[in-house]
Symmetry: C2
């Protein structure tokens, strides 16, 4: 959003021109209004919140940061809060309640009517990251034995949110989910047509269960290019839908998690700038410790070759380069495989194809780098040609082994149902370090002594 | 899709029961039919393609892999091809033409009618990854001076694809984009209402330009939770729309690119399993070489401290662990910052807040790891307590410096308009290696000699 517009709004606010401010805000997109809110002091936020028409203020509320939401809820009367909860979509209410302190949850539940309270409680009980926890119940449900005219009448009456109206979900008498029908189908068909005659059904029906993982839901929506997917309970009864905008958020979250795991951190849902220093440190220390302690192995290997190393300084001097190259080569392979597994382009059964591919890629990369290394050492390093050859040969083997480890571990992880993203750069590099040193010293011992 | 269903379909195909096969397939989702296609031999693909009703076969075609698309186009008659192009949405035709050999493109352009040919040529000229290249022209355009009744009549007549009907785009006499209106608004309003009275307009209108980058488009769609976003030319005339399912693909692509860059590879749009060995090697060699050659610096530093190292074997033995820990600590910080920048949670102006945060996180992590290291070395390493202290102190400083470099480089890259994703693990680790060794040896020299 334009900074200039914010400045104008601020001027109106400070000058007390609330009428003009209200009409300016009412013309803006709710997301932009929420952004403007974020730049205000708590007292001003409350003022602007009260200026806005109720339907807009509820939409804006849904886009606010949790801190600002709590601030507003703590400042408004029970009556205002009750109106807010009425206007909010249930899934937005639940999203909000999941992020705020217990006393705020209690207050909201107290003022909500009985039906809403029961619904909220049911939603809050769905496991985190399950389909149930991200679904909404604001959808169009139609019985499959009514006509198009009855359907359109029913939609007009319930007057449901524009975002979720475009696919209508058909249920039978027992509330089982039996078909879908687009709003446009309704419009284009004769008034007397029965829904059961025009709805999509059987093999082309796609749905998920309340307890399915949100990542699975995202895969389904992505695969079938859906705008929304219906959610059913264990008895195949329709209980909600998940819309694509929420799926986009899930994709973002899952990707962020993968990035964090791949950089050896405990994944976290919190925004970086809003996470405390201790929490950040806690997320990072465990893996740093594990990887540091595994450094004991490289240390022991090096101590075992003390005599060899003191005889050829170029051997010691090449260690970081050698391990760095091995680590990089391995994490290139593992990254491609992890990402391929995540988006479904690679499956476990492709393993042998992958190994063959990586071996050939490794041979090409290894050969090119070994050659470049001989030239590099000739100009910049002490030692004899034989030493350069040993270092280059070790590098070639290290690259081959690294690519092999890099492409194998993520698939192995998948096989034993660990997240492949854990088998990324840092983990691969640590393993490759150990293997590289063993190969390196064995070669050096064989050729140089 | 269930393997069992594929087996059943295969049986029908092999038994020549085409009638049953056709009706089974017609009930399936197009995405699943396309998956079934992928498992068939080329000759069978052609057979099944011809069995399907024209509208379904076109939809299935859009979901096929480029290789299979080329196979089919090369096997069908000009007349069949012309029917296929008629049925396909223009953006699917363009997607397909972007991936296939030139002779196929020439043939398709030859059989297409003049108008389609001009449209295709215009689309193929939009730069790769621009909004123009991913937009579709199949949308509902309405003049803002007509009534609701006229609008619904016009929509019924054009009978446009169900996925893009839900938001209608209003234009004025000069075809300038002036407002949007949901299909549900049309249904819920009186027949005589003018569109200009009920459309969303002014400050709440969101659109992108044909030459905008697709990443920007994705950011806009994500930020405003849109199902589609209108695309205008430089004169603000409406020329197309981009739907959210294509945006999801863009998000995927951009994330994959980030992953590849962060693992020191040249990003590529091709699927791993379909990329040739030489192409894969080419994408990886450049960065491996650059990072390997920068190993010259670590080598020179180590050669400079030959005497010191040969006196204390524990110093040499701790090098890999020290550099590994530094690299890991740095890439943790850089990953969080790169991801934060990518999703818009972090901006350049947050830099000082970030540095302060990282310094404090580094102090906590560094202290914990240094302590753990003393214990570890006491049990597993040769050398004196003083050596352990030097190693631990070096580690503490290395972690602080690594976090500082890790959080600074991505922001610096953003500032000078380089992709922050390049400042990830491998690059950070290489830099941190050099700095760590310099600090390490300086400390060792000061305390041990």
């Amino acid at each position: 959003m334009d900074e200039m517009i914010f400045d104008q709004l601020n001027e109106l606010l400070n000058a007390g021109k609330f009428g003009t401010l209200k009409s300016e805000l009412s013309e803006m997109n709710e997301v932009d209004i929420a952004e403007f809110f974020g730049s205000l002091e708590p007292k001003q936020q409350l003022l602007v919140f009260r200026i806005l028409p109720k339907d807009i203020s509820a939409e804006v509320f849904a886009y606010l940061e949790p801190d600002d939401q709590v601030n507003i809820v703590n400042s408004i009367t029970d009556r205002e809060l009750s109106e807010l909860v009425d206007e909010l979509f249930l899934d937005d209410t639940v999203d909000f309640l999941e992020e705020v302190p217990a006393n705020v949850v209690t207050r909201v539940l107290k003022i909500a009517d009985k039906e809403t309270r029961q619904l909220i409680n049911r939603f809050l009980r769905y496991p985190e990251n399950s389909a149930g926890s991200i679904m909404t119940i604001e959808m169009v449900q139609l019985h499959d034995n009514i006509t198009v005219a009855q359907a359109i009448e029913s939609i007009r009456k319930t007057g449901i949110d524009k975002e979720t109206i475009y696919t209508c979900y058909c249920i039978d008498k027992a509330r089982h989910f039996v078909g879908t029908i687009g709003l446009s189908e309704l419009i284009f068909n004769d008034d007397s047509t029965l829904l059961s005659d025009i709805m999509e059904e059987d093999a082309s029906l796609i749905s998920v269960k309340t307890l399915d993982d949100q990542e699975y839901v995202a895969d389904i929506v992505r695969k079938y290019d859906l705008l929304s997917v219906p959610v059913t309970d264990n008895e195949d009864r329709l209980v909600g839908i998940i819309t694509i905008d929420d799926v986009v958020d899930v994709i973002e979250e899952e990707v962020t998690e993968d990035f964090e795991k791949m950089a050896a951190m405990t994944p976290s849902d919190d925004e970086y700038l809003k996470t405390g220093v201790f929490k950040l440190a806690k997320n990072r220390i465990l893996w740093l410790l594990i990887l540091m302690i595994s450094g004991t192995f490289t240390g022991m290997i090096i101590e075992g070759y003390e005599m060899l190393l003191s005889g050829f300084v170029a051997l010691t001097a090449s260690m970081p380069m050698l391990m760095g190259t091995g680590g990089n080569a391995g994490s290139q392979a593992s990254t491609l495989i992890i990402r391929g597994l995540a988006v479904g382009e690679i499956e476990i059964k492709d393993y042998f194809k992958i190994v063959l591919k990586e071996l050939r890629v490794a041979a090409i990369c290894g050969f090119a780098l070994a050659l470049a290394n001989i030239v590099r050492m000739y100009f910049f390093s002490e030692g004899t040609l034989l030493v350069y050859l040993v270092v280059s040969l070790a590098m070639f083997i290290a690259i081959v082994v690294a690519k092999l480890i890099g492409c194998s571990l993520p698939i192995l992880a998948k096989l034993v149902k660990i997240d492949p993203a854990l088998m990324a750069g840092p983990m691969i590099a640590t393993l490759v370090d150990i293997v590289t040193l063993v190969i390196y010293f064995a070669l050096a011992k064989a050729f140089l002594i």
